[in-house]
Symmetry: C2
């Protein structure tokens, strides 16, 4: 039977018949930390009830196109910790950052050079780069999944019927030299969805909900560990106060204003345009 001091050991001990040793390890650590949190803070029953109500509301806010638990993990910095503790990246490999809550649909397969801005209201830009291994070898056939918000700061899945499905998304396959390129519009800073429980949490803690301008990437290639990352626009707002703690210096790149009719024609964009180079360097699995 339970005494105040014994309950943690008792709860951990209750896991003794768990078949999967990793599950047992994770749950034991979770129980120890949850209990320590409640003890250190002397969490009161009304505070616990508020926490239950908050989690319930967070669950109620999740839909097929909205993931409030990922957003919660993001604004608490947990997603960044998970990304970073798993990054045994070899020197020179592209740093990872959070997945975020908007990778909810499959990106449409597109030809290299295609425009992912299906609406065309933003400032045109070109992103190109090479997917390579940390030893410098290009990775032909590497797959580059990209997604970004529109110039008003919304993803397609947030605005069904307003944005065409697949706007801001593309799945590209690198060419024989590992090169990829696509057209898009320059991303802008935007607030994370702030009309749900996570928004209330940000408000109660005096935090702004903004993320600095960025484009999401997942790059993968045979024999290599995939990387989930962003490219951030150098000089943009909120680089030092990202609501989800995802900015890493190595991921901030110049989106260089370029006035070059020849290059514009080569890239198939109106001149002038902006241009960012972002190589994706993967380590061997």
């Amino acid at each position: 039977m339970t005494t105040v001091d014994a309950v943690t050991d008792e709860a951990v001990e209750s896991l003794r018949n768990t078949v999967d040793p990793r599950l047992r390890e994770l749950l034991a650590a979770l129980i120890r930390h949850l209990h320590a949190f409640a003890r250190e803070t002397r969490l009161t029953p009304p505070e616990w009830e508020n926490a239950v109500a908050f989690l319930t509301e967070t669950g109620r806010t999740c839909t097929d196109t909205r993931q409030e638990f990922i957003l919660l993990s993001d604004v608490l910095g947990l997603s960044t910790v998970v990304e970073t503790v798993n990054g045994h990246r070899a020197p020179g490999a592209t740093e990872s950052t959070v997945l975020g809550p908007f990778h909810l649909t499959e990106s449409p397969v597109r030809e290299l050079g295609a425009d992912i801005d299906l609406v065309g209201t933003g400032e045109p830009c070109v992103i190109n780069g090479v997917v390579r291994s940390t030893d410098g070898t290009p990775l032909p056939g590497a797959v580059v999944d990209v997604w970004q918000a529109d110039p008003h700061g919304f993803y397609d899945v947030q605005q069904p019927g307003v944005q065409p499905s697949g706007n801001g998304r593309g799945l590209f396959t690198a060419d024989a030299e590992g090169r990829f390129r696509f057209r898009t519009c320059v991303p802008c800073a935007y607030p994370v969805p702030a009309d749900g429980p996570v928004g209330s949490l940000l408000k109660a803690t005096g935090r702004h909900p903004y993320r600095p301008a960025h484009i999401h990437f997942i790059a993968s290639a045979a024999g290599h560990t995939p990387v989930t990352t962003h490219v951030f626009v150098a000089g943009g707002e909120y680089l030092d106060s990202d609501a989800v703690f995802a900015v890493k210096k190595s991921l901030v790149k110049d989106f260089t204003p370029t006035d070059d009719p020849v290059l514009a024609a080569e890239f198939g964009v109106p001149n002038p345009f902006r241009h960012a180079r972002f190589d994706l360097v993967l380590e061997r699995a």
Copy 2:
């Protein structure tokens, strides 16, 4: 910008404009423990995704009559920790235990001695006791809220249309000497709801879902701290392996088989019956 070591400090520091100092304290502790959990276990992105899916499913399982987050807190032992760290109970005060997930409706007001078993299929029993202060003073007008499962192990809210609403529940007011009494059926051991994500968690960890037989109480009186507690049936199964870690020795009481036609008539129950005495001792607020 974020580095692996800095993100915890950065996330805690982001709370600096929180108006409510207690909220800031709680969130800072939560962030530190969540991050430490992920670091210690080297939580992987797929494991994190499983956790997000689990929480989402837990949210989806909550309804007006089912609270899966409370159940989750219960089976992890967290609810018991919260109850016990808040128990600065004076010597002799009744020990608290968890609220559980079934205190979802208001208990119907009933006269002292009334039967809360509206179906009448169980073994009749009488519970009586005195609500008093730790100095021994009876507390007239104290309110005693009770709720329990039926003889098949289900609460009324779990079986709308099967059990009458309010079955197993009653809100009693103690008499001028602080006494309360009610009729019911002897409670039985029952499984917590095991068809949702918490049930899957119990299964994956080789745990049974049973709770030992009990009746829930919340006792409150002017000038005193309310107590949320249970009475457990002595000699019953699962007293040493309660799925929610809520058993305390002082709360286990004999439900004494009683063959006494005079007493039966006094209590208004068929003879023989079972009888438990459970005093509720509150400390001054």
